[in-house]
Symmetry: none
Subunit: 170 residues, 4 copies
């Protein structure tokens, strides 16, 4: 490292605490008040655990994604040997369910050729409109996110998503 670079590095090192202070303390404190209507990580992990248990009972290998009320990824797991292609599908299913506040399969029925929402999949950077995506609601019925499951038949995917969603109602 040259002398000039070392000085520049030192200057950066000295500025860092100030910049970090600004970034971490001056701006975020009031920002980190959680929305009461958004999913917590504990809730998301409980959803995923229930979904995995169901998949194990089925003998299937699943990709499981949970998004929050804003349709942003909250948690994801891919079971060992589950499809690589289902990473994106499970995430898109979860987003699609939240985007339109309905099970992905219900949207798919409206998106067939000749049906009112044909080719809606071209929106939002790509949707998945077959079963396996469901809304997540808290015990009061408020939507707090969505789950997307992919890795087996759409029937199995749907059942695993349902098991995940039901974990929040207990």
């Amino acid at each position: 490292m040259s002398r000039k670079n070392r000085l520049s590095h030192l200057k950066t090192m000295m500025l860092m605490p100030i910049m970090l202070f600004l970034a971490l303390f001056a701006f975020t404190p009031s920002a980190i008040a959680s929305s009461s209507a958004d999913i917590t990580l504990d809730q998301a992990m409980a959803v995923i655990a229930a979904a995995r248990t169901k998949a194990q009972k089925q003998g299937t290998l699943m990709d499981i994604a949970v998004v929050d009320a804003g349709a942003n990824l909250k948690a994801f797991v891919r079971m060992d040997d589950a499809f690589l292609g289902s990473i994106d599908i499970s995430i898109k299913k979860a987003k699609t369910a939240r985007f339109f506040n309905m099970p992905t399969g219900d949207l798919g029925a409206l998106a067939q050729p000749g049906k009112p929402l044909y080719n809606i999949e071209f929106s939002n950077g790509g949707l998945i409109t077959f079963p396996g995506g469901l809304l997540l609601k808290d015990s009061k019925g408020v939507v707090i996110g969505a789950i997307g499951v992919s890795g087996s038949s759409v029937e199995n995917d749907h059942e695993v998503a349902l098991a995940g969603a039901q974990a929040l109602l207990k």
Copy 2:
């Protein structure tokens, strides 16, 4: 090629000149006037206000987008609790209507499987070809932009878009 397919093909061939005439002469000439034929923000907000009033009468929750004569976003509102997935769809409907100077539903009829414009949705970064997108014309009939509405059934979406478009004719 079967006889039936040939007939269908012929029908398409015969319709093409009419469609092109409509597309090239009936719609564009007056549209290519200067910037005096572009929508103002006041006009766009009047369109959106009329569309919102209609949605409220319907009891629906809508995403409403207005683009200018250049198909560039001019104004957008998402009513409280309207679908997140309809942000992109309402904008794409408005752009699609202006891209081809026709209601999105009319384009959709040509984009079904087996129809002349099948899968046109792959162009322009994604189109939406079901109802809810309409051209906006000023009181002289000059195209100055387009409106796209999404959030309910395609029938409701279309009605709300129509109410928005009619606000410019008063």
Copy 3:
């Protein structure tokens, strides 16, 4: 329309009310309970109105975007003759501010060559890290969204964004 097509059309028409009932009533009611910590459209329009007033005082022409707590577009206006290229920039500024809970300019200071977050702009489908994006907080200090402004110098953009954000504190 052929007889077969008419029948098919009729069938679709008859199925529509049922499908719409399922889509609109069975699924959404409990879904439309708003998060108490998310921006309303009334709030977003008040933010935009204050921002426009400030821009008019400056004599600048601005694109103004507001996103909600989930970084999803809530409202947008482009003043007459404001830059077309600022549509995307204003939206990206609003998203960037909410993505990292800080003013976009503060992130930009950390993203310069040799600085800790160099080229962070390659994430999230493209960020804008110069001034003009600010968090929106309600009167209790809870983050409910963000504003992005683009169309003039970054100083002017920032001032207009600030005027918008302050409208929520009154």
Copy 4:
């Protein structure tokens, strides 16, 4: 169709039932045994747990992503109130580390203006080249994946990633 092509076609036709059987019934368990050098979900969750513990000690809020030996997402968690913009960054850090088999910060040093890999971030759909991404190796030193952490200063991000990686060495 040439004779050779027909034979090849026949062979495919005969193989199809077997392939379908494998795909639908024997499915993944025996058909697709895991690479012995790929991360398991149990390992990924142990990595994430150790990273979360470290973040809690720091008092930081992190997005944590784990990819497998193929650079495909294996598991992800976003701590409550962690940056939305860090979803993509944490995943890109993990992928970047595995793409080039080095800590993201090491790549970043080579990607500065004037350096040999300047603007390498344009590749692979976007890279993140500042610290917070590290390779994951098993106890024998074999690369089995990577971890990406984002949500605080790059120093904190790196430390949390390191704590995650070290969980596999115990």
